[in-house]
Amino acid sequence: MSAGYEILEHTADVGIRARGGSLAEALEAAARGLAELLGAAREGPGERRVLHLSAADPGALAVDLLNELLFLHETEGAGFGDVRVRRAGPADADVEVELVPLPGEQEGVGVKAATYHQLAVEERPDGSVELRVFLDV
């Protein structure tokens, strides 16, 4: 998990296991995992946009973040450069996303949504956080 995430196999779909020294870092790693799956990981510079997320708990926050990125990818043809979580509480976060336009059709996996299926957030004694989110593809 050198990039902070790994792609999980699922019969019909795929998942992301992301890890970081904090919830913020784990969310950033999950975002990188999604960008890789979409074939949308790009180098900046790009337009910076701040997302304000609000959810029931840290797991739902991760689902929300990935769904926000999917929305931007689909409606704006956006690829993703730097994704930086500026602030993350247990139920809300501010995330700065660097949007890099993608030319033409995409070659990555078509992801419909991030799901709550087997959603897991594990906070370790050392403060590190591991997230698991499955995606519908």
């Binding site: 019969t11 795929v14 078509g110 419909k112 799901t115």
Partner: protein, 481 residues
């Protein structure tokens, strides 16, 4: 978790297999298919669905069952609105009203189409937008998108796209009543509005097929099918519109559940009682997205007609390009059933399962009422597809439900490790199948070896009395997203 065989093709998951089960699980499968479902842990998901409040009868699973997210793919659950029954958007899925449309022609494969298959597949490739992020044949303003959500296929018909006959042979005649476009978010409209008339990616496809064998003459005649005939099968859904509707409403229900005192074994089973206003909002939005899905396949049919016209240099109506039927396999519907000697209107969730009304059902088009509802079962890419019909026993077996396809047997990652997209392409072409794909690299994800044997799946459906075989079709051309 080991289900118990209770009769040929029927396996029971007893109450207690997971805590909180209210009814047993019933899985329709052969010995080989049940083993795959156990290994896949999909049986556990059948048991999880059995914990939903107000579930009636059993948590059913079709022979193409595989592990899904929350609900198993191939899962059927009916809930009773009068008995605190719930609606769960996860029991419909993100691709609301994803489904299959079969289009027939009057063309014969050997004599008329075989010599022109290359140009035909190329023409289909030009007329059928596909792939991730592609725009559709009709790009809608916000106002037009809202009309599609309310009117389904009536909107493209009002713009001169398609025919009244196309609507007649679509489930619900192409429009679900009681759609509530106002419950569809701006985001869903933003995603879906540019996509009407597009195939999408993943397991969505268009195939040129040849009718290879007829099993049920009377039903085949009613559908205008004959051996050697060329047909087109389309598999797609509500695109970003449906994906966002599900995303929005699962989030709402996930937050409501603690206050409602509902606990589920998997958060993607998020649900609220049907009497709750959030349920009514979801049902209205789901129906609106279903209307979008029907309109999507309707608009794509226009592309199929244009492609045949281009490839054969004749007007599509001269080629007899007509809809056989169009039916969804991801939907929840309120349907009346006789349960415990009483007629009850139940909310039937079908997630990767197809409605299969038996003969005489009032909702069927006149031409199909004597034979039962056509059920369209795509196989994996490059293998056979089937046309089935609902039977007299369908309603009693699993709330008039049957399978929806071959069912995945292998993850996409594993499928890609076994062969490259180019290898899969070469193998299919060596078998005489002409291909057009948006991206060859993704072809291996949908390779035939990643799926179960569709023939075994439909044989179980017939053996268990869920549906009956009418015809088998084999692919000769594949257009993939």
């Amino acid at each position: 978790m080991e289900p118990r065989k209770v009769e040929p093709f029927v396996w029971e998951v007893p109450v207690g297999a997971v805590p909180g089960m209210r009814v047993p699980g019933i899985v329709y499968a052969s010995d080989a298919l049940i083993r795959k479902a156990i290994d896949d842990r999909a049986i556990e998901q059948v048991a999880n669905v059995a914990t939903l409040p107000g579930i009636v009868g059993a948590s059913y699973a079709m022979p193409d069952i595989h592990w899904g997210y929350g609900f198993p793919i191939g899962g059927v659950a009916a809930t009773d609105p009068e008995g605190d029954g719930v609606i769960s958007p996860g029991g419909v899925g993100f691709d609301i009203a994803c489904g299959v449309r079969l289009i027939r022609t009057e063309l014969e494969w050997e004599r008329e189409v075989r010599p022109r298959i290359g140009p035909l597949v190329q023409a289909l490739g030009r007329h059928i937008p596909r792939g991730v992020g592609t725009k559709g044949r009709m790009r809608l303003s916000r106002g037009e998108a809202e009309k599609v959500l309310l009117e389904g296929v009536r909107f493209p018909l009002s713009r001169g796209v398609g025919t009244e006959r196309d609507a007649e042979f679509c489930e619900d005649r192409g429009v679900l009543d009681d759609a509530l476009p106002g419950q569809v978010s701006d985001r869903a409209i933003q995603r879906g509005a540019p996509q009407l008339g597009s195939l999408g990616a993943g397991n969505h496809f268009l195939e040129v097929q040849v009718v290879e064998e007829i099993f049920h003459d009377r039903a085949a005649n009613a559908m205008g099918l004959f051996v050697g005939q060329v047909c087109v099968m389309l598999h797609t859904g509500s695109r970003g519109m449906g994906h966002q509707v599900c995303t929005d409403h699962v989030k709402v229900m996930d937050r409501l559940m603690p206050d409602l005192g509902i606990e589920v074994p998997d958060r993607q089973l998020a649900c609220v009682p049907l009497a709750h206003e959030a349920a009514q909002r979801y049902l209205g939005a789901m129906r609106a997205a279903a209307n979008f899905a029907r309109a999507n396949r309707h608009v794509l049919t226009d592309g199929v007609r244009e492609a045949f016209g281009d490839a054969f240099g004749r007007a599509p109506r001269e080629l007899g390009v007509e809809v056989v039927y169009d039916v969804a396999h991801n939907l929840a519907k309120l349907e009346p059933y006789e349960v415990d000697g009483r007629r009850r209107v139940l909310c039937v969730h079908r997630k990767g399962a197809t409605r299969a009304f038996g003969p005489g059902h009032p909702e069927l088009p006149d031409a199909y009422r004597p034979i039962g509802q056509p059920v369209l079962i795509p196989g994996s890419m490059g293998t056979a597809s089937y046309v089935l019909v609902g039977t007299e026993t369908s309603a009693a077996r699993a709330f008039a439900s049957t399978c929806h396809g071959a069912g995945r047997a292998m993850s996409r990652t594993r499928a890609k490790k076994l062969k490259t997209g180019h290898q899969v392409r070469e193998e299919l072409e060596a078998r005489g199948i002409t291909l057009a794909a948006a991206h060859w690299g993704l072809l291996a994800e949908e390779a035939p070896y990643a799926y179960k044997d569709v023939s075994e799946v439909v044989d179980v459906c017939e053996g268990a009395g869920l549906s009956r075989k009418v015809a088998r079709l084999r692919p000769v051309g594949v257009v993939k997203g």
